[in-house]
Symmetry: C3
Subunit: 482 residues, 3 copies
Amino acid sequence: MGKPLELHPDRLFPADANCRTVARRLYNEVKGLPIISPHGHTDPSWFAENNNFSDPQALLIAPDHYLLRMLYSQGIRLADLGIPTNSQIHGGEKVADPRSAWRLLAKNIHLFHGTPTGFWLNHVFSDIFEQTEQLDESTADHYFDSISEQLQKDEFRPREIFDRFNIEFLSTTESPIDTLKHHQKLRDSDWNGQVVTSYRPDAVIDAEHHTFQQSLQFFGELTGEDVFSWTAYLEAHRKRRADFIAVGATASDHGHPTAQTANLTTAECQQLFHRIVADQVSPEDAELFRAQMLTEMARMSLDDGLVMQIHPGSFRNHNQWLFDNYGSDKGADIPKRVEYTNALKPLLDCFGNNPDLTLILFTLDESNYARELAPLAGHYPCLRLGPAWWFHDSPEGIMRFREQTTETAGFYNTVGFNDDTRALFSIPARHDMSRRVDCSYLARLVCEHRLEEADALAIAIDLSYNLPKLSYRVSDAMGGDR
Amino acid sequence: MGKPLELHPDRLFPADANCRTVARRLYNEVKGLPIISPHGHTDPSWFAENNNFSDPQALLIAPDHYLLRMLYSQGIRLADLGIPTNSQIHGGEKVADPRSAWRLLAKNIHLFHGTPTGFWLNHVFSDIFEQTEQLDESTADHYFDSISEQLQKDEFRPREIFDRFNIEFLSTTESPIDTLKHHQKLRDSDWNGQVVTSYRPDAVIDAEHHTFQQSLQFFGELTGEDVFSWTAYLEAHRKRRADFIAVGATASDHGHPTAQTANLTTAECQQLFHRIVADQVSPEDAELFRAQMLTEMARMSLDDGLVMQIHPGSFRNHNQWLFDNYGSDKGADIPKRVEYTNALKPLLDCFGNNPDLTLILFTLDESNYARELAPLAGHYPCLRLGPAWWFHDSPEGIMRFREQTTETAGFYNTVGFNDDTRALFSIPARHDMSRRVDCSYLARLVCEHRLEEADALAIAIDLSYNLPKLSYRVSDAMGGDR
Amino acid sequence: MGKPLELHPDRLFPADANCRTVARRLYNEVKGLPIISPHGHTDPSWFAENNNFSDPQALLIAPDHYLLRMLYSQGIRLADLGIPTNSQIHGGEKVADPRSAWRLLAKNIHLFHGTPTGFWLNHVFSDIFEQTEQLDESTADHYFDSISEQLQKDEFRPREIFDRFNIEFLSTTESPIDTLKHHQKLRDSDWNGQVVTSYRPDAVIDAEHHTFQQSLQFFGELTGEDVFSWTAYLEAHRKRRADFIAVGATASDHGHPTAQTANLTTAECQQLFHRIVADQVSPEDAELFRAQMLTEMARMSLDDGLVMQIHPGSFRNHNQWLFDNYGSDKGADIPKRVEYTNALKPLLDCFGNNPDLTLILFTLDESNYARELAPLAGHYPCLRLGPAWWFHDSPEGIMRFREQTTETAGFYNTVGFNDDTRALFSIPARHDMSRRVDCSYLARLVCEHRLEEADALAIAIDLSYNLPKLSYRVSDAMGGDR
């Protein structure tokens, strides 16, 4: 028998009784608002095909790099969690079956005490799969059977789950070399769920990416442009952005190592591009090219209206052995220090004063919240602050974001929450966490007589619903046949 | 009808009932202490001429870059806030009249929810101009008329306001090429208000400043020194420091891009200075010269007793277009990361162990509080920590300062509060915020049994009054005919 | 008469009444657990000789650099605190007698309000020396006499104090050129106290250390190896590590300026070592050699089982004048910014995925907690996070550590507390502070419904006792005749 599993109605609210009461009142007004999810990594084929998920391991372990990284950090092999290795290398290594993997998670569930992953899992277990006992070794098999069974029902298919979660808008992320066939199928279907894409061109911009040359080749084929010339390369981007917009995209996204931007002359761009498409690219050229392309993307955004997002500072695939054996997105990306004040200046010198551009900045380096990001967003008309991101998308992390940005940037230079997840079933848990923590922060301001409760309530609603719609120009995507 | 405007007596105190009670008791003992304002940017002509302010826009919008930056960040043009553009460029652009600008502020007042600007404004509205309804679109005209009317009264003139605010000492900031005529006039007047100056020589030290060569020229004329030779240049500084001291200065102030110091030989100084006064200066030379001049200023301080302040890390006029069109101090300065441990070593190797020097360090990079600044100030006899500065001069910012410096540097290596403002009417609000937050921090220590309440009270009084006087050697300036 | 001195039973617990109640319950279960002190700097001769301490100055002032630095920062000369100067330079300078030094501390005790030093001192005064009045000028002589008298008793000798403090395991730190005679004497004695050593090879690894060449010479003599050849130099390390293990060592420790690691080929290592043992070493070579040696040490750890610790980022002896006149460890070390993500990659590429290696990371740069350290430790099997260190070993510092690491790394990638002290009598105070703050953090999670109290209790016990034993492989040292 496991211990009882109950989600406390006051979870994440302040310990102080008065603050808790205010937080509760604020939260009651926002908890039922529709979910706007303008940035994430769910798979569009889920919604296009609407097939059932197979089992708890495939649904909850395999796609969740938060979960994999914690278990791996304690010496648990990924193969034992049911993650297949690169077959060329580990052809003979045994990959655990789903049930064994699930038992291993259950046995190590204490590792997630005090972590957002623990919170999200319990939310999913209780709220979606109606489990009444905590997951541990004694309940592992019951969980596995019960969830497996439920997953086979119609109401647990992706589209039904989307509707049940009260998601009004959800964006996935695709590369310029994606054919968008899933999104096209969605557009052609009679389902009303707003699942759109975002333009994430890193694969054809980052010359240090190991598949850059092939991606470029395919980029040319898809667009019919000679993408090895600078002018046609830019034209190819314009064409693909239009394709993405045609299936609902309202934003582009840029996951660069740094926030560096550049503003070269056309001649300099052409020379640089010439070196970039050659075989051997220097790190300096690759960095300069990424920098210049952020400025080019901003220029295109002023033409086509895509909101622009920069997600800098992740050292991707830091663990070379793990990458060679298991590939990307297994929890081996590590943040780095990032600089913004100097890095963004070239782009801001071009477009910083234009309120028609929306450029949303993210960080994994919290030391920038108060030092660089809030001052930048609290001045430049084009800039907004994305929410606490990735490792910081947690109760303490979201609270630090508000505490360190609000006084300089206010609430209205922020854009509400992003769940940024490929873990579909955790989406309501993540938005719920964000709403609870924002309400807790606002409640403290109310109790410290720094904000009136009526104003706090208006802000809570804006953060939960209005700001994400406005900032990501979601209404644009809502309309008819755009 | 607007919503009622009331300043809650417990504002900024902790939400916890016990802590709040202690904070109240501490605050009651310090709220009435005179204001020591040893670092700020009010205009000495206000006090020298004692003319009435014209209207709310001129008093509360135009000089307040916190306010301008937030409104600008949301796409509001500065011209629409009544800020004149550079006429050569925008000869024809319409600048809003004061009442229209005021209405625009009123319409957007929600942007300041949860910000220190919102707190300061409400304090001024309620406490000084006795408004009883909140500023919004419905009350904008009433506010404009009411404040305009009050501003014409004698008791709202600068000297009367100064006395009403219970300011014991206030320092403005002037450049070495200022004639000090306003301060001289103040000295010659029969008014007893202690308004003094500070020596801020950046204009004749920063070779990258666009008016450096002209400033140097004028520096020579004012001092009668051939300031294009190193020895005479230093002598010119000594003369002007003496001039500043003669009108009450107790401190110098240095707003450098970095905290870099240097300790060159005389021969190296002469060669460097030779390159500095030439037409084209390299960034490296400019940086090295600023670095060396901090050490020279420290040396002079040991002779003439001026307390030295370093304010590093602001990227001034980051927005080139705004600077070209509207000039400086419009809210477009952005903080940068700053390093202290290595940067200060050359100066500290010279004078760090001399307790006769007082060198007050500020930062816009809070990651230095616990890492570099508290350890440095908690060791070197010459060093003290300036208060939370600029973007961090806010409830959360002041709290972080105490939380991150006290355990290593204690309270007695800090110097109390600086308002650092050109917004005269906000001075009491700013000191009140600081006192409230310090008392809240102390109250928490008391309630966590980390400090006895009697000791907390002594510290609260020291932070509010004694430490600023002592650290800035204010008693020196109080005396008769120095 | 002094003010009463009482240690409040709820000290350091949260101010909120509910959280305090939970914290009390958790603390009651861990307060009596034995002390595991796997990293510190007490003198092994104390335990080997078991002589009485002479007086309060020698016991409490002279070895405590926290105390010295704060007093020095306020202009108090070290000689006046009884610290002898380098006689060649200050042959004639008067060094205060112990009683005068003690009076000077008493007079300035207010400087320690709100600091961990103040907390530790009061704990020692009250709990160990049974003082009932606070230390101040009026009680200074009474304190001096009372403590001096007690120190002469048998029960205040080092071994008796060790047993009274309920210390189960204590590690000192020695250099490879230490003969380990005190530890050998301890092993040969009939006392059962587990006092062991740690291998800290900085003196023979840091080519920039001013005694490097002599240390190397002595390293060769002790090991009988020709340590000026790369192969034999490594062999000398292996021999000495075995010597350390023979007297109980379970860990090595590395106090480098940075966290840089390297992975050179054998040929590159030999060429680098050739340059390192030559007379003039470039800073780049010195850094590269330290970097490579971290990787070599990790390799040896996989053979001999020593847990590895990296303590980077302290600028040792920052104050040149103080170092010249008073030597090291007088409170003049200053933290610097540190980078981990890139710096550790070479070592992690070699051994990062091997759970048989335990590499414990420390920092003086808190901006790394959430950005680099928790993500690294939350992924790599070999990595663990050391506790809040040195300047951050304080109520706020320990709390920030938990708040900024738990959500990404969890509790089980941390290793419990290190007192890291040479102040023997403060050891219980330091562990008590850590346990109280951890319980306060856990209590807040419980009250915010982020953790169940039963789980919090298990974690509190693990943090206080089980994790330090496990992480430092303490049971290995406990055994019989190893």
